[in-house]
């Protein structure tokens, strides 16, 4: 077959036709289902016969639903911040390390990314539990007499999620920091700016694209982390993924579940868009300096 899109002489490219099978699969099994989800969400009744915005109105006027959305977005922000504070030094250390240590750091960071999320979450049950590692250490040191409650708390959940999502923050940071011209930092330091000042005034702004990319990925992953939220958060903390699952699975309220999904999806896309706008602005500023 002749691929008409490109000049016959151009041997460095392949015709777009090669993307057709995947495009077809996506059209049928990705776009169509999402379109149907959207269609279903625009119905007021459970069997999807009456058109209307009822499901969205129901969600957006219900303080309970809104509080679930708010709690989810807040959780994402907390996790992202913690990931950034802990992850940045890892990326910084990676840049300064020798070849061997660099590989070790990457593999350590990759390990949780590739380990099953259930396994990672399970570990946190062992760590945060009443008889877990933290409580038994603190008790044997005599620092506390009764075990602290960490499992099923917001704080415990934030730490667990931060660990689970850490690779998504660190990998883009490593890439971004690696691209910074080290001479710049040296120049700044030799001009007497001091390391702290140089870090906050030079390195941090220059690595902004990595920060933005890392924050986007971490945020999106943290708010959708169904398993960690349900196991470490416990039965009484409700976030969007579980809310959506309950409505769809236990209550079989598909149009409402569809509306929740769409609202959730839009919220995620809005955050991603916000981050990428910030990223673009940071890049422009970065080029200007």
């Amino acid at each position: 077959m002749k691929s008409a899109a490109i000049a016959p002489g151009d041997v460095t490219r392949y015709g777009l036709g090669l993307a057709a099978p995947l495009a077809l699969v996506f059209a049928v099994f990705f776009i169509a289902p999402l379109a149907q989800l959207f269609y279903l969400s625009l119905h007021n009744d459970a069997v999807a016969t009456v058109w209307g915005l009822g499901q969205y109105v129901k969600f957006l006027t219900d303080p309970f639903s809104l509080s679930v959305l708010g709690a989810t977005l807040l959780l994402g922000a907390e996790v992202t911040l913690l990931c950034l504070v802990l992850g940045y030094p890892i990326a910084w250390l990676h840049q300064r390390a020798g070849h061997w240590l660099q590989t070790v750091i990457i593999l350590i960071v990759l390990l949780p990314l590739l380990t099953s999320v259930v396994v990672r979450t399970f570990a946190w049950i062992v760590i945060l539990g009443r008889q877990g590692i933290i409580n038994s250490t603190l008790q044997s040191l005599g620092l506390i007499s009764t075990p602290l409650r960490m499992l099923y708390t917001q704080g415990g959940l934030v730490v667990a999620l931060a660990q689970v999502q850490m690779p998504l923050m660190v990998l883009p940071l490593i890439t971004a920091i690696g691209r910074i011209d080290t001479n710049l930092a040296d120049a700044s330091a030799s001009l007497g700016a001091g390391h702290w000042r140089t870090f906050f005034r030079v390195i941090l702004p220059l690595s902004m694209p990595g920060i933005i990319a890392g924050c986007t990925l971490t945020y999106a992953a943290a708010i959708t982390a169904f398993i960690t939220q349900s196991l470490v958060g416990g039965g009484q903390m409700l976030f969007m993924p579980m809310y959506l699952y309950q409505q769809a699975s236990t209550l079989q309220n598909w149009p409402f579940a569809a509306a929740i999904s769409i609202i959730f999806l839009v919220a995620v896309l809005a955050i991603v868009a916000l981050f990428s706008t910030l990223g673009r602005r940071a890049r422009i500023n970065g080029d200007a300096t």
Partner: protein, 271 residues
């Protein structure tokens, strides 16, 4: 600033950064170690440190037919999803890489979008869609769903590998009279193979580990390992899960080491 002050300042910065980095790395790696240690407990609970050590939970795993059933299903689905992702994803990557056309860029965004959209929404959408077209949930629907969320990894890694390919190589090959197919097989494929493999590796792992899609598309007859483990953890804190987890961790480490040696996985993901 005096020299002494300056050194002190530099020291404080380096110490602070290094300490946080080391603590953060410990935080990242500690949970896996804890799981491995707890899996050797002789007790019935997840008390840490364990009251004694034994292999009983590994023996228990031998009889855990429900977990084995789920693991087999997960493996079958992951292998199929990875295979389909390679076939469809590499072809698509060839088409869209190096192309500056608008349609290529649109396709690129489309193929990447499962990574950004909440997969849970897609899982629900897929369930509704399959029930609309009258396809009951089965391993087939799971494979389709997993392929959608796994193929981006193959596309992305293959595109990245193709971007590093020197166009002059292809031109010289053509000038020397090689057919496009021959050039593809003998030059392009060997050069992008590590990219494909590492993409396929991540696709496989993410299918094997998938929760949001499986959550909606599985049922008891097509049980998936992560869902079974989650439900076991919620319903009865079974130490068998610790043994299984530690096997999964060790298998992951081994696979990672293999991938590092064959494809330089770490450079590929952090490059």
């Amino acid at each position: 600033m005096s020299r002494k002050q300056h050194n002190l300042e530099a020291l404080s910065f380096h110490i602070a950064m290094t300490v946080i980095a080391v603590l953060a790395l410990a935080l990242v790696v500690a949970p896996s170690l804890v799981v491995v240690i707890v899996s050797f407990t002789s007790g019935f609970s997840l008390k840490f440190p364990p009251p004694g050590y034994s292999l009983r939970w590994y023996v228990e795993l031998w009889n855990a037919w429900q977990l084995q059933f789920a693991a087999r299903n997960s493996l079958v689905v992951a292998l199929w999803a990875t295979g389909l992702s390679i076939l469809l994803g590499v072809a698509a990557a060839l088409a869209i890489s190096r192309s500056k056309s608008v349609s290529a860029r649109v396709l690129d965004s489309l193929f990447m979008s499962p990574l950004v959209l909440p997969a849970l929404a897609f899982g629900l959408a897929a369930l509704m869609f399959f029930s609309l077209i009258g396809l009951p949930v089965s391993l087939l629907t799971l494979i389709i769903g997993h392929t959608i969320v796994c193929v981006p990894y193959v596309v992305r890694n293959t595109v990245a590998a193709l971007a590093q390919l020197e166009p002059t190589l292809l031109e010289s090959s053509a000038i020397l009279g090689a057919s496009r197919l021959y050039t593809f097989r003998r030059i392009v494929l060997p050069l992008i193979r590590p990219g494909i493999i590492s993409g396929a590796f991540i696709a496989f792992m993410s299918s094997f580990d998938n929760v949001p899609v499986s959550l909606f598309l599985r049922d008891a007859a097509t049980d998936m390992l992560p869902i079974r483990m989650w439900q076991d953890l919620e319903g009865k804190l079974d130490v068998t899960i610790a043994a299984l987890s530690s096997i999964l961790i060790i298998a992951t480490v081994a696979l990672m080491a293999l991938m590092e040696r064959t494809t330089g996985l770490s450079k590929r993901l952090a490059g």
